[in-house]
């Protein structure tokens, strides 16, 4: 990892404006689906409502991070700097929700 003389910008091909637009469209579509689901009582009542919303939001999260924040293309160091804390943060949220009986094992 050390002495990677190339600057990251040159090291990897960046996506183009078109990719960014596509990503934006996907984000918009997911958001629309989310909000739409919110207004369908049958869906809200379903046990799959919460998990699917969480999955959709995680997908949006990942897309923005990978494409807009270029984590997909950037130096792996940044991936480590971001995913490490993210995992600890996620685990902490889960543990706290468990401890306060908001979720169970």
């Amino acid at each position: 990892m050390s002495h990677d003389a190339k600057s990251p910008a040159q090291a990897h091909a960046h996506p183009t404006g078109a990719t960014y637009l596509k990503v934006a469209v996907i984000l918009t579509v997911i958001t629309i689906v989310e909000v739409w689901a919110y207004y369908i009582p049958a869906l809200v009542a379903s046990p799959l409502f919460n998990p699917s919303l969480i999955i959709m939001s995680a997908a949006k999260f990942a897309i923005v991070v990978l494409f807009y924040m270029h984590l997909k293309y950037d130096h792996k160091l940044f991936k480590a700097l971001f995913t490490g804390p993210l995992i600890i943060a996620g685990a902490t949220i889960l543990a706290l929700l468990f401890l306060f009986a908001k979720i169970s094992l």
């Binding site: 990892m1 050390s2 002495h3 990677d4 003389a5 190339k6 600057s7 990251p8 910008a9 960046h14 183009t16 404006g17 960014y20 637009l21 990503v23 934006a24 984000l27 918009t28 958001t31 989310e34 909000v35 689901a37 919110y38 207004y39 809200v44 409502f49 919460n50 919303l53 969480i54 959709m56 939001s57 949006k60 999260f61 923005v64 991070v65 494409f67 807009y68 924040m69 130096h75 160091l77 940044f78 700097l81 971001f82 490490g84 804390p85 993210l86 600890i88 943060a89 996620g90 902490t92 949220i93 706290l96 929700l97 306060f100 908001k102």
Partner: protein, 228 residues
Amino acid sequence: MASHAIAGHDDGHAHTHHTTTGLDNRKIAIWAFIGSECMLFASLISTYLIYKGKSLVGPYPHTEYTDAAGKVFPAILDIPVTSASTFVLLMSSLAMVLALQAVQLKGTPLPANAGWWTRAQRSSQLWLGMTALLGATFLGFQAYEFTAFVREGLTIKTNLFGSTFFTLTGFHGAHVTVGVLWLMSLLWIDRTRGLGPKDELVVDIAALYWHFVDVVWIVIFTLIYLIQ
């Protein structure tokens, strides 16, 4: 003078000195900062979720509440408005990434037959301004939301929901505010001196911050607004 420094000679030896990884110090620092922010928002979001449904009195986020005097408080969250503001923030991320691209592309010759879109993509000022504007719009929505809630009887003191809700979204809003100010100063530099590929890093760092604030909202929107 400001432009000179922010764009080139900030703290950190990156531009003049060799670094181990070849990466710029500031970019490493901002990623570490973002990692730290993950824990900050994790704590805030956990608190909101832990206290969800524990308020002794209303108003409540998703359900109606009738107080002792018989006064009815409707469910307080306004999903249509927040959906709109969420969309605005998402689009600001698009604008931001295009702003970065515009800065990177500065100086590369435009093909002769370039269409409006290709041209537009070269305008860093357009996209920086757009991002800041969308961010400010988001803040406007938030200001509207907050005042509406207060009018409807929910303040930061009312109940656990009020305290956690305003604090969580308030913290996020403060982050957006900082971001907007940051973008405006970049825009100002761009207008006075012009940002070019050599300033890529400066814009990149602001962009990373901005996108992070956006992804936090993605999580908040789902966990706080949509899930009941």
